[in-house]
Symmetry: C2
Subunit: 242 residues, 2 copies
């Protein structure tokens, strides 16, 4: 099991994955799944890393049974790869698959923001503006971690208030799945663009312009893909680890 972060300082991932996904928290399966999921999405376990149940069992001081169950759940979430009679590993996502996931996310995000715009109440919009104001001050302060956390909070806010709980679950799961790429943008250069994108999207929400909202969030999602793509190929060229 590898415990080396190996992430460049400036390239901070935007995903602090919420783990309510794993209900049954009082059960060992839930806790183990949550912790391993965190290890993966936060980069302590890199794609391909060994996840054999014996080692995990000794790490968690349990038997192998709940470990196996947790790994099966994570496999369904796309974080882990399991082949019969072979040791489970952290999932490895190809460039082609990243593109697929982003395309789908763009579509789902578009539908999500449309539903939000259709259903949002005045209080929702006020709350949205409050989060956006926070994002604005953090951008001015160039406070990377807070900025990223708030950006995620804003997106999660939209997802949570879109009025479709199945979509909410699906989008959260999708976001987590994509986070195994371990690639985020170089935020220090992107504060203003990111902030501006979100400002414009918020305006579209305020004005109940769902067509514009869909267009904006779609392009924002695809821009995320663009950055990851660049970074991925850059790594490949400089001979960095996969």
């Amino acid at each position: 099991m590898e415990h080396e972060p190996q992430i460049q300082p400036n390239f901070v991932a935007d995903t602090h994955v919420p783990l309510e996904l794993y209900e049954r928290q009082d059960l060992l399966v839930g806790q183990i799944a949550a912790e391993v999921a965190r290890d993966i999405t936060e980069g302590r376990l890199l794609p391909g890393a060994d996840l054999n149940s014996v080692e995990l069992a000794s790490r968690f001081n349990t038997s192998r049974t709940p470990i196996r169950e947790a790994l099966m759940l994570l496999e369904k979430e796309g974080l882990v790869e399991i082949l019969p009679r072979r040791r489970p590993r952290v999932a490895h996502i190809s460039l082609a698959e990243i593109a697929e996931l982003y395309d789908i996310r763009a579509v789902l995000n578009g539908f999500m923001i449309r539903k939000f715009i259709e259903n949002a109440s005045g209080e929702d919009l006020d709350e949205m503006d409050a989060i956006l104001a926070k994002l604005r001050t953090e951008a001015a302060r160039r406070d990377v971690p807070s900025f990223l956390a708030t950006r995620t909070a804003l997106h999660n806010f939209w997802v949570d208030r879109c009025g479709n709980s199945s979509l909410q679950r699906l989008l959260r799961s999708w976001k987590m799945r994509m986070s195994v790429t371990r690639l985020g943008g170089d935020v220090s250069r992107e504060f203003d663009r990111i902030l501006l994108d979100n400002e414009r999207l918020a305006i579209a929400c305020r004005e109940h312009d769902s067509a514009l909202g869909v267009a904006l969030i779609t392009s924002m999602t695809h821009f995320g893909e663009h950055m990851i793509r660049q970074q991925q190929t850059a790594r490949r060229e400089t001979g960095m680890m996969p």
Copy 2:
């Protein structure tokens, strides 16, 4: 465990769920998950039915371990409900949730057909026409089971050739999830409409008119929801079982 079909003859479900979903077929988990999934999607196990692991273990002549793992997989697929320390049950889907699932499916189907139209080769279109021709003759013969199977085959064909394997998996899983509603249209009255819809969609594909294709498949998906909705409320009024 209830083994009573209790489905009206004319209301045939359109979903013969493909079970390649459950890889690891040489393992007990895979076989058990596949068989229980069939039991649920084909109506032998109705929503709310008891799925306690002891009974299933004796039915499959195994220990409870692979049973528990299979049920956890099916829970992730949305076919089974598991609460901590309670007996697993076949998932019960509310009307509101059905609407949510259909909305999402409509969006995903729209994206799927757009990708198909963008990527389809000449051979793909010919193959599509072959399936459509089969559908046409079966409609003329009023052969309900074959007609439904072919309609499903046509839809699966589009899904399989849309060029996005993640979307393919997601849509198949989504379809299976929705099939626990155990509600299908009264096909005998709908042959011509269903056939016509698919013919028009195929024409849109042939003419590479993705906007039209998206519009058609979206409305088709929502029409499916409409029928289920009617049927569900009709059942409720006549006091039939949920």
